[in-house]
């Protein structure tokens, strides 16, 4: 029984691991930290898995648990990302699709997102994942109206970071 549960969990996580990797990329700065966070999220997901009843999609549940873990750890370790570190982040953009300016702009935007606080970062992450406000509110446990307001504020913050 337990073996089956383990197998099912690992299979589901293997299929949906991109979600975790994207969260790791946003909340960490280097490969080691990325791997550490991936492991921590995996363990938290496994711990919470028995409570997953299938009311929501596995991926939706994954967003919730993974973001909560990333936010908690981020607060614990206060791994604030320094501006100078951004240069070292390999934000790969296909050169044939973008010219230098676009690449530079995307990099600046990505830097700005990483500068946001943990909650705003989660909001923007879900926005980048093309989630509706309803899904965002469900994942973060806030109302839909609140999600919209917070998202607008996060966008304002991004604007201020980009044009100080």
């Amino acid at each position: 029984m337990n073996k089956k549960l383990e197998h099912r969990f690992v299979k589901l996580l293997e299929t949906n691991q991109n979600i975790v990797h994207k969260i790791c990329r946003l909340y960490t700065n280097d490969k080691d930290a990325h791997d550490d966070l991936f492991q921590e999220i995996t363990i938290q997901l496994w711990r919470a898995f028995p409570k997953f009843r299938g009311d929501s999609k596995f991926s939706t549940w994954m967003y919730r648990v993974s973001l909560n873990t990333a936010i908690t750890l981020y607060r614990k370790s206060k791994r604030q990302i320094d501006t100078q570190d951004f240069e070292s982040i390999s934000f790969k953009i296909k050169s044939e699709e973008y010219d230098d300016t676009t690449e530079q702009q995307l990099k600046l935007m990505y830097d700005a997102v990483k500068k946001l606080n943990d909650i705003d970062k989660a909001l923007v992450f879900l926005y980048l994942e093309d989630k509706s406000y309803r899904e965002i509110s469900g994942t973060l446990g806030i109302s839909e109206v609140n999600a919209r307001v917070k998202m607008n504020r996060a966008k304002d913050k991004l604007r201020k970071i980009l044009n100080p």
Binding site: T42, L106, L128
Partner: protein, 212 residues
């Protein structure tokens, strides 16, 4: 916000560049937490052994000569060999625990391994504290019974320390020092292994919850 939407487009197209973790590796991650705690137990026990061995190298020559003159050299030597032999056995057991947790692929076996590790650590601590107490009592009794010889060997007469009452003062100070050393030893074990065992216990409880 155009720029954010551009980032969104790029974000979506980047999926294939993300790392891929295999089924087996994810499976291993589930068991890794306990494995790393047991690894620390193994590493700390080796550091502890090295620490005790290094003490023998920094022991002043005078102390070694004193032991020789008191006729304790041979006994001490055999005691040390016995102690390090037992210590070595515990290190092997810790290593075996660590290895078996590393290769485990089922929570039931992992739970059993956690219980085994906890048991080994408990015995290790009991042995070390028990051995220190027994050794202190034995040495102090011997020295108390041979206090005259000790008085001579320590050259206390030259320093003007009276012979009368020396044995009593010596034994009282030895008992106080002994208590302090044992208290420090227990504190060390409680801090180092206690914390690790507590974490292991937490992992065990979680595994039990998942299993039930």
């Amino acid at each position: 916000m155009d720029k954010l939407d551009k980032l969104k487009e790029n974000w979506q197209s980047e999926e294939h560049e993300l790392p891929k973790v295999s089924f087996d590796k994810i499976y291993k991650i589930l068991l890794k937490k306990s494995s790393s705690i047991v690894k620390w137990i193994f590493v700390i026990s080796i550091i502890e052994l090295l620490f005790w061995i290094s003490l023998y190298f920094i022991l002043p020559e005078d102390n070694i000569n004193m032991m020789k003159e008191l006729g304790l050299e041979r006994v001490m030597y055999y005691c040390e060999i016995f102690h390090f032999f037992i210590f070595g056995i515990f290190i092997i057991l810790f290593y075996k625990n660590y290895k078996s947790i590393q290769v485990t692929d089922s929570t039931n076996v992992l739970m059993q391994n956690i219980l085994n590790t906890r048991k080994t650590v408990r015995y290790f601590v009991y042995y070390n504290v028990g051995m220190t107490i027994a050794f202190s009592i034995a040495i102090d009794t011997y020295l108390y019974n041979n206090s005259e010889k000790l008085y001579e060997v320590m050259g206390l007469a030259k320093q003007g320390i009276p012979k009368e009452g020396f044995a009593n003062i010596f034994i009282i100070s030895q008992i106080i020092v002994g208590f302090i050393i044992i208290a420090l030893l227990i504190l060390f074990y409680w801090l180092v292994y206690g914390i690790l065992l507590k974490k292991l216990k937490g992992n065990y409880r979680e595994l039990k919850k998942i299993n039930s």
